[in-house]
Point group: C2
Chain length 353, copies 2
């Protein structure tokens, strides 16, 4: 193929789609034509990408005619229906939903960790992981490459935007209601009374609170989000028996997920060598000098591409374990950026074939 | 001793002291006279306790004359200087600072876990644990009694009031600044610019953020707060070699610490039996039905006495491990309540001797 590949962005008007258009406008441009696609409700809107205004097309079979790569940032059920349609029309689909992630015939790809997996895609579909998995996997992958990971115990601090634009709007609405009343947060239910019954996509107030729940209920009390971290990490690292325990908690942060990670490896690990591995890893930035107040936090990380790592400590009980804190923008590396990176891998492959 | 013991409350005007006066006014009254003591700066203020107004006395040796029990809620250095003075005057000191917690001749007491330890106090001083340790130790102790704890991996979600009244004020100030601007939290540093340089007692903005730091720097990158959880848990449970890893993170919650706990035991543990142990444990409330949105969160737990437990799950990799989420009011059970409970143990002992 000599011409630059044609790209379709399906779900161009959502929270992740908006970041995706920004990335397409700022990253090295590998694309020929770009088509923006969304639900019929959003069709007709005009959005700016690569400096030009494009009209958003309604999702239909015809929009995939001549498309080489289609990025999907839509709900699971929309992806489940339309990704095979796009693939049947000859497009390579890069899907950011959970619809195909655990399918054996769909690779689950993080370019810094397993770029090779993107080349084998029997259904023409490549999946991008969940935002919580993505916010830590590049960091974990960097140590795994050298030490062989054996167990992960993680606790998340997940941002409101993980629940989409409705999550962001809900957090801002709630902050507006609670700000200014300095008596709040001292008696049971006082924050609930001020916020009222409309909790948006969250099962409890998020302002002045943390909520130990994300996703839907799976077996034995585990949440879907916790199981995604477990199952997706195993698939990406190619370790189907890896021990992974996650507890997911939503926090009143707009965008950028944080995770506390306790990682046990097959070999003894020296903390300075671990820091060096983080420093050398593509896509990772080490910010680790707590004596000078240097560690990553969401308000500094949001809007940036890398996975930020800090608070790296050698376990005091186990020479094979380290503890660290990691932050990643859940709309960028956690979603749009990883999708874009996968699509660029495919574009390079198509262009060279 | 026939008369009811005389109590001194040292640090009566602080964030914890305020809760302590509330507890003294609402719990079963075991005290004879009560003296309120604070720094000379706060002396002369009049505070209400047990329905009567008392004048706050300036901290000096004389205030301990005739005092049987002295509760201390003051900074470490004040406790270090004045607790021995009170003890030399014959008072049993119940100290909520870190000054004496790890001394071999000072018991570290959580009444639900190791009430027996309060009876042996060669220096006349009993220490109450750090708020983060206290927010989870009653729940951990309940399982330990039946299964024998072998390892704890914890991540904290610590409230602003853990840094005292200055922490609460800082969070409210910051919320006021960020509320209403719906563009915030999307670009690196945008929240920092609005909040400005005055971060109060925190090393980074707390509103719309989480901050992976609490306390001061100890060896090898560990924070003092993380080491307290490790060392105090070992001492309270009487397990000097217990494996404990903690990562402490501050969150924009006014009051009530939360912790994600991964607990490994010596024996196989059945999750229903673990739930039963939580249900039966004094001082613990189980709120665990996520399908109905039932789990503890800080805005519901604040102002209550118990340790709240939810999200109890059997580990999927280890039959000896469970994961759970725990919330405790860091000013009540995490500080004032535990101090009051220890003091009441001593009062009962003095009254019966």
């Amino acid at each position: 193929m000599s011409a630059r590949p044609t790209l379709a962005v399906v779900g161009a008007t959502g929270a992740v789609g908006t970041v995706l258009l920004d990335l397409l406008s700022t990253r090295e441009d590998v694309w020929g034509g770009i088509r923006l696609v969304a639900s019929p409700r959003s069709a007709g809107r005009r959005l700016r990408v690569r400096g030009e205004e494009l009209e958003v097309l309604a999702l239909a079979e015809d929009v995939f005619a001549g498309v080489d790569v289609a990025m999907f940032d839509v709900p699971d059920e929309v992806a489940r229906r339309w990704a095979p349609v796009a693939a049947a029309r000859g497009a390579v689909v890069v899907d950011n939903s959970a619809a195909f992630r655990m399918n054996a015939d769909v690779p689950l790809v993080v370019p810094e960790v397993n770029a090779w997996a993107a080349r084998t895609r029997p259904r023409g579909i490549i999946a991008s992981p969940n935002c919580s998995t993505l916010s830590m996997i590049v960091a974990v992958g960097a140590l795994h490459a050298e030490y062989g990971v054996d167990q992960l115990v993680v606790a998340t601090y997940q941002a409101a935007s993980g629940a989409g634009q409705a999550g962001i709007d809900t957090l801002h609405d709630q902050l507006h209601k609670v700000a200014g009343d300095r008596s709040l947060g001292t008696h049971p239910g006082d924050v609930r009374r001020v916020i009222g019954d409309d909790l948006g996509p969250f099962p409890a107030p998020l302002a002045l609170n943390v909520v130990p729940w994300a996703g839907s209920l799976r077996d034995a009390g585990w949440s879907s989000e916790e199981m995604k971290i477990r199952e997706e990490t195993r698939k990406i690292l190619g370790l189907p028996a890896l021990r992974v325990t996650a507890t997911c908690v939503r926090v009143p942060v707009v965008t950028t997920h944080s995770l506390v990670v306790h990682a046990v490896f097959e070999r003894e690990i020296d903390v300075e060598a671990a820091r060096e591995a983080f420093r050398d890893a593509p896509g990772v930035v080490l910010a680790d000098d707590p004596g000078r107040g240097e560690f990553p936090t969401p308000v500094d990380v949001v809007g940036t591409d890398p996975t930020w790592v800090g608070r790296v400590r050698q376990s005091l009980d186990d020479p094979c374990a380290v503890d660290f804190f990691v932050c990643g923008d859940n709309l960028r590396k956690g979603a749009a950026l990883n999708t874009a990176q996968i699509a660029e891998l495919v574009a390079a492959e198509l262009s060279s074939s």
